[in-house]
């Protein structure tokens, strides 16, 4: 006597329940098979449960979230250097990392990327290594011994053939890069194999020394800014972890699974993928940081923080240069930081404080419009009706 799936769908469609709940409900009733009567009872009870579980209107969720994130902060470690999964790469963790996220810094102190490989090659160690060399910034010191030849006023680079082969880069390519990058003449002597001679523009001692210094700054291969790549086997697959983050550039590298590649640099995510991705990145980074410290914080609190940071379409800092500095109320801003400047500016502009927020009303000594202070009771005067 159980009803069909179509009937179930029509019965549960339009219910104001979260999608996951609806999906579970649907799966359960389809699996078990229910009668119409039973289904009605189930829906009624699930709805009642949901309504009970909802937040109450006027709840000051903001403060609760702020406290839920701030309070565990006191229990976090300060140790900056720790390892996250990969022992070889240092990542900022604990309280400093949380502060960094909330500060919406342009670049984190330890940028890091997790690069996944395309599924079909993910188990191939050689392929992973090849991609790694493709990404990692190669500098001259990796490839060659640099000798300053004072007699002939030039730099002699003795390239290591084995490493060249391993990194998949040719002598000519290096010469070209150096020529373009330094703007000097580069010669490949025919008599000695694997040698490059760099000649400064002017045969000056100072120029030569400068050149010997500058040559280390030229990226010969890979992506500038990615200092190191570590390959690690996670289960069946090889994953690359990079020190330094260059999301935009990495996405153009072949053999990389875009959908599973990410960075811990929120600013970069915002620039490359936009605000929604940045919002999610904040939630993820914050919850990872807290989880690593063994602290449980409900995801809703992190969502709220993330949402207020991103609700204007750009990532705003929690603090004086972001949300708190852009509040409508003069008093709220003055009570937070840089008190006098805000007051003087307000006077100059003739600002009006509408006294809508919490701080303002506390300052003037009025009930705040939040929680029980936001509820208005209208009573009919019984005497009037008589």
């Amino acid at each position: 006597m159980s009803i069909s799936e179509a009937t179930i769908d029509s019965m549960i469609s339009g219910l104001p329940l979260p999608k996951t709940t609806l999906a579970t409900l649907r799966k359960d009733v389809v699996d078990v098979g229910v009668t119409k009567k039973e289904m009605e009872v189930i829906i009624e009870r699930v709805m009642a449960d949901y309504e009970y579980a909802c937040v109450e209107p006027c709840e000051a969720v903001g403060v609760v979230s702020a406290q839920s994130i701030g309070e565990p902060g006191t229990q976090m470690t300060m140790r900056t250097f720790h390892y996250a999964g990969v022992a070889e790469i240092n990542v900022t963790l604990g309280l400093p990392r949380l502060i960094e996220i909330v500060d919406a810094r342009k670049t984190p102190s330890t940028p890091m990327m997790t690069v996944a490989l395309v599924k079909e090659y993910a188990a191939d160690r050689e392929f992973a290594r090849k991609v790694a060399w493709e990404i990692e910034a190669t500098h001259i010191e990796h490839l060659a011994d640099v000798t300053t030849d004072l007699a002939n006023m030039n730099l002699i680079l003795d390239l290591n053939e084995k490493i060249l082969l391993q990194r998949g880069i040719g002598v000519e390519a290096i010469a070209e890069k150096l020529e373009a990058g330094l703007g000097v003449k580069v010669k490949i002597p025919s008599e000695v194999a694997n040698q490059i001679i760099v000649i400064p523009k002017e045969p000056l001692y100072r120029d030569l020394l400068q050149l010997a210094k500058n040559i280390h700054g030229i990226t010969l291969k890979g992506i500038e800014g990615i200092k190191r790549v570590v390959i690690r086997k996670d289960g069946e697959e090889y994953t690359l972890y990079t020190e330094g983050s260059m999301l935009k550039e990495i996405l153009e590298v072949e053999g990389i699974d875009l959908s599973r590649t990410s960075t811990n640099n929120i600013g970069e995510i915002y620039e490359v993928f936009g605000i929604e991705a940045a919002r999610f990145a904040i939630i993820k980074e914050a919850s990872d940081t807290l989880r690593e410290q063994g602290l449980t914080v409900d995801i809703r609190h992190l969502m709220l923080v993330s949402d207020i940071m991103t609700c204007d379409g750009e990532v705003k800092q929690i603090g004086r240069h972001g949300i708190s500095g852009e509040k409508a109320s003069v008093f709220a801003r003055a009570a937070f930081e840089v008190t006098v400047n805000h007051l003087l500016d307000a006077g100059m502009r003739g600002d009006i404080d509408e006294l809508n927020g919490v701080t303002e009303n506390i300052i003037v000594g009025q009930p705040i419009k939040l929680g029980t202070g936001d509820v208005h009771l209208v009573a009919r005067n019984p005497l009037k009706d008589l």
Binding site: V34, E56, A60, V297, I308, A328, V330, L355, V364
Partner: protein, 883 residues
């Protein structure tokens, strides 16, 4: 009594506050007198007329009457005066904006150096920003940036000269110093329309008002003078500063009238500028702060407002309050979690106002009759004309006679009153909760130890604050929203934050572990403090026929009927395949219909943060049942632990000789391993870990080896101590301490680290002169082989102190950093509120989330929306098992 007086008037609400600059005209208009003499009091100690303490400015001395409003000190709010400045002076705070305006305004015709079209464009942008609720800062900055670009005035074609600004307040145009008078003249000619483009409102703030020609003198009430014990008067810092200003102003006037040379005039002008600058802000960079005679910098206007103790954060956002008490806290497991023990002496001082009505007249009379000396008495009586009268033995009889409905008495606090209880730092909402008063002897606040976790309190001398609620509304709100039982579940993670700690856990652990034979007497004793009066059927009978009860049975008595839970206990050994109910260690808890069938009760069951049973009881049976459960188990646990006894002393760390030898051997092995590593390193045979240098590799390897050795010795110690050792019981059940603590006490303290590395600092090439240079061995870099019990040798002790110091520094830095993080978070999020439509909005109406947390669910009740909850509903309706 008239009807009007019965209904209290609705308090006025401030709708909005408008800011602006005060124009010189306004200053003169609101001024009650011009101040011309720098002196304050005459020889008789009477304020001088037209002096800084003029009686028209308000009064602070008792007995005198204000000449402006006629009221006495305390009632008179004070009135402003003014000082006519001889020459205009720049207000320091506006230097930045003055500079911008000066540079973007024509030096000849004072028009804004922008084309008409652009002005209109910017005006439009400004109004758009305003409509959007954004601050206009960016647009205004663009206006100035654009205007500054034009080299000639588009209106009079005058060439614009570069204006240099020199700290603190000098403007130099083409080598010529602009006097404030000149600047003021330029600003006076700016048209209203141009002012609007610059983001200012010409009605409330004209640029020339930023250059002062007349200085308002704040009322005396703002800068009260204090009379020292010696009878000497000590003036406020502001008064001192004002005296300086008047003096220089006078001298300036005299010199100018006398036709003094330009140089002297300029010097005096500068001096006047200095005094006004420091009057407004005594911390301007480039200006030496004005100092008191003692050398202390004066606290002038800006300093009064700024910072943590400033007016805004110190006096307006946070205030000192009446009706509060503070003392040391101590534990009392016999109190309910909803209660707080208040010392009698505090209860006698804290009062609650009660309106006298015909129905409570007798009771109120009784309070007054008892007075302030006999406990539930009354301290004050407030007559219907709002006069407060102290109840004394002398006037008691008289008051009793006069007492009538309409009066209010302030009765002493008594059992059952609702108070707020708080411990700083108040990091979350559970740091302030409402408790019911229980008046007790002695001098400390008492609280149930189960409420320690939310307050983060312990009893090593912590003090807590109590606030007595004064209105019926606040009491209602507190008891519904803030009472302890309503806060058992923390919104942070949706689990219980109030729960068993320490003895609660070890008590119940000892009680429910293993088979117990509890006699009737003992069983009754255990449950004595619970509400239960009937013992269950005995578990069996001893050989002599005496009935006995089991510990699990006793514990089951305090569980609510209808409770079903199953979970692995804290003591779970995390076997590969869990045998669940058949666990041989009795580490899998099964509760059916409120009956503990299997398992041992420990931290996982009733502990704060973790307690699964507690969590379930609160979520399924409500907060009252939850509170009852906590109360019951604290009482039961205390009796349980007393029944068995649990003590811990230095002999509990004794381990047998064989174990000691085993540990020594293990440590020797570890040292050998380290030596081998070092040998390999020195022979360059060691292979570097990928991405690490050789030095880093050897360090990491040594750390690993030593860490493992320490853990192994710990395991050996743990094994030899056995499961009956008190410390092991506490660590395993989660009551207190960990196996690591035990290891350090009994076996080996282990590696001391600084910043996650072995200790390296000290002398050149070595940590201490006891070691060879370049020694990489374990003990040369802070490995402590000894245990706390055996005692550390001098070098070990020193390394231990180094490691310990780092911990202390860490805590100190962390508290300040996380405190600031918290302040910023709260400040950014405090205005958010869930609306009736489920969205989260800021107070100005900006939508932050369309549905709170994407599903609109409260984190403390989120269990109801989890898949298991749905499964349960479907299961219970259909009676069929759901996957």
């Amino acid at each position: 009594m008239q009807m009007d007086n019965m209904v209290p008037s609705i308090p006025k609400r401030i709708g909005a506050i408008k800011f602006g600059l005060i124009s010189p005209r306004e200053v003169r208009k609101m001024s009650v007198t011009s101040i011309i003499t720098a002196d304050t009091y005459d020889d008789d100690g009477y304020p001088i007329d037209m002096g800084l303490m003029d009686l028209r400015l308000g009064v602070i001395d008792p007995g005198l009457k204000c000449k402006s409003c006629g009221s006495r000190a305390g009632e008179c709010p004070g009135h402003f005066g003014h000082i006519e400045l001889v020459a205009p002076v720049i207000h320091v705070g506006f230097n930045k904006i003055l500079r911008k305006i000066l540079r973007s305004v024509c030096c000849k015709c004072s028009s804004l150096l922008l084309e008409e079209g652009k002005k209109r464009d910017f005006l439009e942008q400004l109004s758009r920003q305003k409509d959007m609720g954004h601050l206009p800062d960016d647009v205004i900055n663009n206006v100035f940036k654009e205007a500054r670009k034009s080299k000639t005035c588009p209106y009079c074609n005058e060439e614009q000269l570069d204006i240099k600004f020199e700290k603190p307040s000098e403007y130099i145009e083409n080598g010529h110093k602009l006097t404030p008078t000149e600047i003021r003249d330029r600003f006076e000619n700016i048209s209203d329309d141009d002012i609007r483009v610059m983001g200012m409102n010409p009605d409330t703030a004209r640029p020339e008002w930023m250059i002062l020609t007349v200085l308002p003198v704040p009322p005396v009430t703002v800068r009260p003078s204090i009379t020292l014990e010696s009878g000497q008067r000590s003036e406020d810092d502001l008064t001192h500063k004002l005296v300086d200003i008047i003096r220089i102003n006078q001298r300036f006037q005299e010199n100018r009238d006398a036709g003094a040379p330009q140089l002297i005039i300029e010097d005096l002008w500068e001096l006047l500028q200095y005094h006004l600058t420091t009057y407004f802000d005594n911390e301007v960079s480039g200006v030496p702060p004005a100092r008191h005679r003692s050398g202390r910098p004066l606290k002038t206007l800006t300093q009064r407002l700024k910072g943590k103790e400033g007016r805004f954060r110190g006096s307006l956002s946070g205030k000192r309050v009446n009706f509060s008490a503070r003392t040391v806290v101590s534990p009392d497991p016999n109190l309910s979690i909803n209660e707080v023990g208040v010392p009698l002496s505090i209860a006698q001082h804290m009062t609650i106002p009660v309106r006298v009505i015909s129905k409570n007249l007798d009771l109120m009379r009784e309070y007054v009759r008892r007075g302030r000396e006999v406990h539930p008495g009354a301290n004050y009586v407030i007559r219907d004309d709002e006069r407060r009268i102290k109840v004394t033995d002398i006037n008691k009889e008289e008051l009793l006679e006069k007492l009538e409905p309409g009066w209010t008495i302030e009765r002493q606090m008594q059992d059952g009153d609702i108070v707020l209880f708080n411990r700083q730092p108040s990091l979350h909402k559970m740091s302030i909760m409402a408790h019911r008063v229980k008046v007790l002897p002695n001098k400390t606040f008492k609280l149930n130890p189960a409420v320690c976790p939310p307050y983060n309190a312990d009893f090593d001398g912590d003090e807590m604050n109590m606030h007595v609620l004064q209105t019926e509304e606040s009491r209602a709100e507190a008891s519904i929203l803030m009472q302890v039982q309503e806060n058992i579940l923390s919104p942070r993670f949706g689990g219980p934050i109030i729960g068993g700690i320490h003895d609660h856990i070890s008590g119940l652990f000892l009680l429910t572990r293993n088979q117990k034979f509890i006699s009737k007497n003992d069983a009754l004793e255990l449950l004595r403090k619970s509400e239960l009066r009937v013992l269950p059927e005995p578990a069996g009978h001893l050989e002599d026929g005496e009935p006995y009860w089991d510990g699990k049975q006793i514990f089951s008595q305090i569980l609510p009927k209808g409770l079903y839970v199953e979970f692995p206990a804290q003591v779970c050994f995390k076997c590969d395949t869990c045998k669940k109910g058949d666990c041989e260690y009795d580490a899998y808890v099964v509760i059916e219909d409120g009956e503990l069938i299997k398992g041992t009760i420990d931290e996982q069951a009733i502990g704060a943060f973790k307690g699964r049973v507690l969590d379930k009881v609160v979520k399924e049976f409500g907060t009252t049942a939850g509170a009852q459960f906590v109360d019951d188990f604290t009482r039961l646990a205390i009796r349980g632990v007393m029944h068995t006894g649990l003590s811990f002393g230095i002999s509990d760390e004794d381990i047998p000789l064989e174990a000691k030898e085993g540990i020594a051997i293990r440590l020797q092995d570890a040292e050998k391993e380290v030596a081998e590593l070092v040998q390999a390193y020195e022979n360059k045979e060691l292979e570097a870990l990928p991405g690490r240098t050789l030095d880093e590799t050897i360090e990491m390897r040594i750390m690993q080896t030593l860490g493992k050795a320490r853990d192994d010795t710990g395991g050996m110690a743990d094994q030899s101590l056995g499961l009956e050792n008190s410390a092991v019981i506490m660590a395993r059940s989660g009551a207190r301490g960990s196996i690591l603590n035990l290891t350090q006490m009994a076996a080996c303290v282990g590696q001391q680290a600084v910043r996650g590395e072995r200790i390296r600092r000290g002398y050149a090439g070595r940590t201490l002169p006891h070691f060879d240079k370049g020694d990489l061995g374990a003990d040369a870099h802070g490995f402590v082989k000894a245990s706390y019990k055996s005692g550390l040798n001098p070098t070990e002790y020193f390394f231990h102190a180094i490691g310990g110091r780092e911990g202390l520094v860490d805590t100190a830095v962390r508290t300040s950093q996380s405190g600031y993080l918290q302040r910023r978070l709260v400040n950014a999020l405090q205005d958010l509120e869930v609306q009736y439509d489920g969205s989260v909005r800021e107070t100005r109406g900006v939508i932050v989330q369309f549905k709170y947390g994407e599903d609109g669910i409260d984190s403390t009740k989120s269990d109801y929306s989890k898949p298991e909850a749905i499964h349960r509903v479907v299961r219970s309706v259909t009676g069929k098992e759901v996957a």
